[in-house]
Each structure stands twice: as C-alpha cells, then as structure tokens.
C-alpha cells in the first residue's frame, strides 16, 4: 500500500510538497500540481488510505498534512537486515550439512 501510493510521480510530488511546506489546502495544492482539483483529491485519498497524510476540515476547506511517522519502519533498515541474515544463515547451516556428505 505504501509502495503503491508513492509509486505515482504526481502523488509523490504532492506528498513531497506537504513534507516541505507543511499543511496545505486542496485548492493550494491544485494551484501548483498542474492537474484538476478532483484529480488532486483522488491522489490525496490514496495517500490518506496509506496513512501518509491526515485531513482536517475547517469550514468549507480541507487541510492536508504529511504523516511522516508512516515512513519510519522503512527508514530503520536494521530490522529488515536482521531478518534477512537470520534467514541467510539458516541456509548457510543447511549448506554446511550438505557439505559433509
């Protein structure tokens, strides 16, 4: 979900802008995105579903902000690498057993 939501360049640009400039309204995002407001809203809905953005309603405006915590598990590589090595070393031990024969 996270991967898919950031694989689209337009969506990634919207998310990057929210990271860079903080909370924005859909109208403000549309002004710079170069696509229609409904398209921007669709992209925001995908980002929201992935937990990457949060929306806040104020009057008739909806404000969006980036939820950077959603990316944290991806930045900490140690967990993935520990799992990777545990699995590789299991295979290494299997290989050592075969080498006996």
């Amino acid at each position: 979900m996270l991967f898919k939501s950031l694989s689209d360049p337009t969506r990634r640009a919207i998310f990057e802008r929210l990271c860079r400039e903080g909370e924005q309204t859909v109208a403000a995002l549309t002004a710079e995105a170069g696509i229609s407001q409904p398209s921007v809203s669709k992209h925001l809905a995908v980002l929201k579903q992935a937990g990457l953005v949060l929306d806040r309603h104020q009057g008739r405006q909806t404000h969006y902000s980036a939820q950077l915590a959603a990316l944290t598990p991806l930045i900490d590589w140690t967990k993935e690498m520990t799992g990777f090595w545990e699995s590789r070393l299991d295979d290494l031990e299997d290989l050592l057993k075969r080498m006996d024969q």
Partner: protein, 147 residues
C-alpha cells in the same frame, strides 16, 4: 559515499555452528558455495576486490549489492562493504573455534539517510525511501520462503 547527517546503526547475528572454522570459511569464500546460501556473486578472497551480489526474488525484480573486500584473514575474519539502495554499510564475519565447532558472529554496520533529512522531503532521499520499500517487499518474500 559520505553522509554526515546519517546515523550509524549495527546489526549483529550470532550462531554456534557445529562445523570447524575451515569448512565455514569455504562456505563464506567460494563463489559456488556463497551462491547457495546468499546470492550469485563474483567474489574473490582478495582485499580490494570489487564484486556484486545479485538475485531475482521475483521475475521482474532484480536485487544487486555492490561490495568490496576489505579484510581477509583466513578461517578468522572476512569483511566487505555492502552498498545498496541507499544503505552504505560494512559486513564482517568473525569465526572463533569452539569445543564443538565455530562461533560465527555477523555484524553489519552502516547508515541510510537520516530520518530528519528525509523528512524535509529532499529529492535526494526519495531513491532511498523507494529502496527501503523494495527491501520491505523483499523481506516479505523471505518470510514467504520460510513459510
């Protein structure tokens, strides 16, 4: 590759192996054996030798790690750099003989983009994010393999 904003982290995995260090050393340094437990490679146990580890977890996904041999101390220590997907690290295998075989210690130390730098949404950090995502996907594959 330097990244002053990066934060060094370390992974350590240890195993008691019921085989002598000499045999373990062969598995760690002979290309056809490395391929059986790690990845395809063009490894040579020569300090300064550059090699690449590669595999295809899925038909359309290629994983490649760029490495350089840093230290070769037969039957004792093997160390090489491990650079891939925004991760700049060093992997070190340390073999210690025991009464029943070998104590194997694997340490990987290095860094990816600093979290704060990444939060600025700097363009440079995006390849690293996407790389991290790929690692997660690959990890899913590994878990699948174990199932």
């Amino acid at each position: 590759m330097t990244n002053p904003a990066g934060e060094t982290r370390t992974v350590v995995v240890e195993r008691e192996v019921e085989h002598p260090p000499e045999k373990l050393w062969r598995a760690l340094t002979q290309p056809h054996l490395i391929e059986e437990w790690l990845m395809k490679n063009d490894f040579k146990p020569v300090t300064g030798h550059k090699f690449r580890l590669s595999r295809e977890p899925k038909p359309d996904v290629k994983v490649a790690i760029d490495c350089e041999v840093l230290k070769v101390e037969p039957n004792r220590t093997l160390s090489y750099s491990w650079v891939a997907y925004g991760l700049d690290s060093v992997v070190t295998f340390t073999l210690t003989p025991t009464a029943t075989g070998t104590h194997l210690r694997l340490e990987q130390s290095g860094f990816t983009a600093d979290q704060k730098a990444a939060f600025k949404g700097a363009k440079a950090s995006w390849p690293q994010f996407l790389a991290a995502l790929e690692r997660v996907l690959e990890q899913d594959d590994n878990e699948g393999d174990n199932a």
